[in-house]
Structures are given as structure tokens and as C-alpha cells.
């Protein structure tokens, strides 16, 4: 069984997928953030390689990409970060980025390097199934899952096609929009989770806007297996420009509260 499959099989309540931008606020500190999230109960990490033009992200995560690039983060250093996380814990790592970062390395070389560093899956947000043939083949050769997304705008007919080639887990985008912290999740979300739940046997992870313990409960109650939280964590990093233990403490407290640990 893959690390990813094991994370879902062993779960006790919904899996918490903690997102961070590699190199935010700087390369060393982002490793500390990753370790803090793991220690606080994150079951999967989603590690983003920063990109100059993060089109699918709202302001909070955009700023994280900017901070990381300003701190000198590169794809090479992001692979190093994944390797360091792998050395720390057996938690599955989903490597997230934008298509040009992968294309520039070469589909095959990127997949090989990601697998070599210990990543378990790839998620390229601007590479829909129609464009992902080369990367899907490379990912399969290297034993990586390529995560596919379903959005509220994805029709039933299209969902069938997207789900047919999915592996690892299915990422359900909770809102029509970009990433960000939202007070309330849309009213249609529970029904959408229930619908997609019927359409795939893969684990279902819900992200975009998820930021409160109440969201996690509602998403789990509707039948999803995991929540992905990015902006809320990234915001804590942004709010602590001096970094350090206070920031790590705040991240740890937040993740613990979200996973329901006392």
C-alpha cells in the first residue's frame, strides 16, 4: 500500500492536509513549519513550489509565493525540502505547483526528481486532464499519483471523464473562486460532496476556503475523507514577519485545533 493510501486507511476522523509554500518565509523556516504541522496532527502535507504568477491563488497565498521567491526559493531547493520532510516523518507529500515550473524541468525529469526526493503525488493546478498526458505518463513511471480536481462548475459528464483517470485522491474545490480564507462555505457544498462521493471510490479531499473547525466537521459529515487547508496557515506565517517560535507555536495551535486535538 502506498503512503498516501495508508494515510487514508489508517485515519481516525478526516485527514488534515496542511499546505505550505516551500521557502515561506525562508527555506529553513518552511521546514520548521512542515515539522510543526506534522507534530500537530497533519496527516498529509501539500508542498508548493513557488511560481511568479500563481493565477489560481488568492492574495494570502500569492504573497507566500512572493515571500518564498524573494527568499531565493527554487525548484531545486523545494526538492531538498521534500527530502528533509521525508527524513523527518513518513507523512505523504503532495508536490503542488504551476505547469510552467514542471514544463521547464521537463515532465519526465520533474517526476523523477519528485519521486527521488520522496514525494508521493503531484498536483499541477493549471494542468487539466486535457493537457496532462505527458506528466501523467511520467508520474506513473515513477510511482507518483497525479491528483485531479473537480470544481463546482464541473458538469456531471465532465466529472465522469476527470474521475476515470484519477488516482491517489480526488481534490474537490469547495468554491467557485481562488484560494483564500472564508467564513462560510457555500450552501451547495454538502450536496456536491455527497454527489462526488457516489461517483468515485477514491478518497475525497475538500479544499479552498476551508479554515475553521466547523468547516472540517461539516465536510466530514457530508462524506469527504480529508480537508486541505492552505490560506489559513499561510496567513499565520504572513502575520509573523519576524518568524521564529511564536509563528511556529501559532501554526501548531491552529493545526491542533483543526484536527480536534486537545
Amino acid at each position: 500500500m502506498s503512503r498516501l493510501a495508508a494515510a487514508f486507511a489508517d485515519r481516525d476522523g478526516p485527514v488534515f492536509v496542511g499546505f505550505l509554500v516551500a521557502g515561506d518565509p525562508d527555506p529553513a523556516m518552511s521546514l520548521a513549519v512542515a515539522k510543526t504541522m506534522i507534530d500537530a496532527g497533519a496527516g498529509i502535507l501539500e508542498v508548493a513550489i513557488p511560481f511568479s504568477d500563481p493565477m489560481a491563488d488568492g492574495p494570502i497565498i500569492q504573497q507566500a509565493h512572493e515571500r518564498a521567491l524573494a527568499a531565493g526559493m527554487t525548484p531545486d531547493a523545494a526538492f531538498d525540502l521534500v527530502q528533509a520532510i521525508r527524513g523527518y516523518a513518513p507523512v505523504p507529500v503532495v508536490l503542488f505547483t504551476y505547469a510552467n515550473i514542471v514544463f521547464r524541468q521537463g515532465w519526465e525529469r520533474f517526476a523523477a526528481r519528485a519521486a527521488g526526493a520522496g514525494a508521493d503525488a503531484l498536483l499541477v493546478v493549471d494542468l487539466p486532464p486535457e493537457e496532462s498526458g505527458d506528466l501523467a505518463a511520467a508520474a506513473a513511471r515513477h510511482g507518483l499519483d497525479l491528483i485531479r480536481l473537480i470544481a463546482p462548475t464541473t458538469s456531471a459528464a465532465r466529472r465522469r471523464r476527470v474521475l476515470a483517470g484519477a488516482s491517489g485522491f480526488v481534490y474537490l474545490v469547495a468554491v467557485e473562486g481562488v484560494t483564500g480564507v472564508r467564513d462560510d462555505l457555500p450552501a451547495y457544498l454538502a450536496d456536491l460532496i455527497r454527489t462526488v462521493r457516489q461517483e468515485t471510490r477514491l478518497p475525497l479531499a475538500v479544499g479552498f476556503g476551508v479554515s475553521r473547525p466547523g468547516h472540517v466537521q461539516a465536510i466530514a459529515a457530508a462524506g469527504a475523507d480529508a480537508v486541505v487547508v492552505g490560506s489559513a496557515i499561510t496567513r499565520i506565517i504572513g502575520e509573523h514577519p519576524d518568524g521564529g517560535t511564536k509563528m511556529l507555536q501559532a501554526v501548531g495551535d491552529y493545526v491542533a485545533a483543526m484536527v480536534g486535538r486537545p
Partner: protein, 389 residues
Amino acid sequence: MIQRRFGAFGGQYVPETLMETLVELEEAYRRARQDPTFLRRLSFYLTEYAGRETPLTYCANLSHDLGCRVYLKREDLLHGGAHKINNTLGQGLLAEFMGKRRLIAETGAGQHGVATAMAGAVLGLPVEVYMGEVDTERQRLNVYRMRLLGATVHPVASGTRTLKDAVNEAMRDWVTNVRGTHYLIGSCVGPHPFPSIVRDFQSVIGEETRQQVLEREGRLPDMIVACVGGGSNAAGMFAPFIGAGPALVGVEAAGAGLGTPRHGASICGGSPGIFQGAFSYLLQDGDGQVRETHSVAAGLDYPGVGPEHASWKESGAVRYEAVTDREALDAFRYLSRREGIIPALESAHAVAYACRAAADLGPDGILVINLSGRGDKDVPDVARMDGVA
């Protein structure tokens, strides 16, 4: 059938949320092109509102100086002062056809934003324009112009705070409001089907030129020159001439020089990459991060280029050259003095290259320059460079 790719280039590199909308857009566009009411309305607005057809002006003084027969295609005479209105009227009517009641757009210097605001005003559709903060400061008058035309202007504070960031922000708005909003993209860039739609709406330039030059000269030109930023005026001019004989030359912004990092020449100085929805040429670093660009012409100050241009580059159907800020400014002054026509700094790049290449055509050679816009918008900047406050 609309091409999803141009050779290896193009495609749909967008978040999942937009995929169905792009399918809908393609469907709607295919229907609109067969719809007599849509076509009649487009023709009406292009003629009665925008001022088509535009003249193909024979330039006796340039012809004398350059040693061949030189014509200018006068898109500078359109309403709004540039070719942009061809596309904004087309896509505005397409939005109406699809029942989308809100238009959003990006703009760099403000020309496309103004043209979108005009189309929105005349068609009764609310318009919101994203514009980099750096550009809103540089082009305050165009911000005011858009507001005067009833549009809302959103300054964009992310990234380099210029055109590429305005496109990102418009995409984010579209992802959020996709059901009722049409993203009226300003050039032949972005995901399929935008590059085809924008090229088609701009092809009126090349179609008129073809007819006009045949009437005047009885044959096709030897060379046609157009500037290329995103590349919509060039795509519209070239499309009807691809493979038809004339040498087609797209002129990019060499800025401070192709040997420096300060230019906007995606094809002449960039490499293939995936950016803002399409696979095309891109100015980027070794990791794939998109580079900052520079050109004296704001409309050419963009790191990407339309994917069809990338395919024309690969197939050799079009030749791509680059002209520096200095050469463009010289051409700006030259055309103003010699023909009494102040060109947009973007179009001045085409004029500059034409001056360089004309001698090879010989006295019977026919050269057409696409004068994509007028230079009134650039006069304050050039005056400042000349030390006139």
C-alpha cells in the same frame, strides 16, 4: 471546428473551474459566427460606431525616402485610436449572445481597457477593468477615461504590478464569477479558444488590406509589417495572407537591447513556456519564473505572446524581428514629421523595421505597415523625454 492548438502551441492551461466555461465559449462562438443577427450587429457596430473600413494610405514621402511603394493600414483612425475596438465590439456582442451581462478586462497602458469600456457603454454591459498599480500611476488619464466611460478600474498590487499581473487578477475574478461574466481578453493570448476568437475579430484588418491593395496595385504586397506584443493586430493583419506570398514580419520590442534583460521580445529573446493559459514563447528564467519586461511602448511590455505567433515562428510562415526603444522613438518622430501622422509607440516599432527592410524591395516593391494605433497617448511621455514638461 476551431483549432485547439497551433502546431505544438496553444492549449488550455487553466484551473478546472474554467474548463466548462471555455467549452461553452467555444460552442457559443461557433454558433455566433453562423448567426445572421450576430453578424449583422457586428458589422453595424464596426461600420457605424468604430468607423470601418479604415483607409490604406499611400505614403508618397515615405515611398520617396525608402525607395519602394509604402502603404499604411490606418487602424489609428478607428474610434478610440487603435485596433483594439475590433475585438472589444466582437467579444462584447459575443458576451451579449451568450447572455453574460458583465464584462471584465485587463489593461496595460489602458488602450484595451478604454476600448472595452466603450464597447460596454454602447452595448449596455457593466465593465470592470484590472490594471497594474504601476500602470494606473503611469497612465492616469486613461484611468480617468475608463471611469468617464462608466467602467470601474481596479488597481492590481500583486507581482510586478503591471499587465501580466492584471491578467492574473482578471483570471481570478473570472474563476470567481464565471457564470455571469465574460472575460474580454485584449490580445490573441490566453487559453483556447481566445487566441482564435481574437484573431478572427482582428482579421478584418487583413481582409480589408487585401482587397484595398488588390484594387490599387492589382497584386498582393511584397512585405507586410506589424508590431507584436501579445500580437493581436499582427495576427489580424497576417491571417488572411498566410502562405499567400507576401513576406510577413512581426516586430517585437527589443527595449534597451536583446542583449540586456530589459526587453519585451518573447519570440526573439524568449523560449517555449506555459503562461496564462497557453503554451507559447515566454520570457522566463531557468526555473520557469516569468521575467520582468521592458519596452518604451506599454502595449509591447508583456512577457508572453499569442500561441499562433509561436507556431508561425516555428513553421516560418512569419519572420520575427525586434526593434529597440531608440529605433522606435526615431520612427515615431520620423513618421510624425514626414507624413503628419503620429503613430502609437507600439506601431512605431513596425515603422522602424519597415525603414530598415524597405531598401531590399526595390522601386516597384509594395510594403504595407499596419499602423495599429495613433500616438496621442504617447505624446506626454515623449515630450517628457525631450525635456518638455
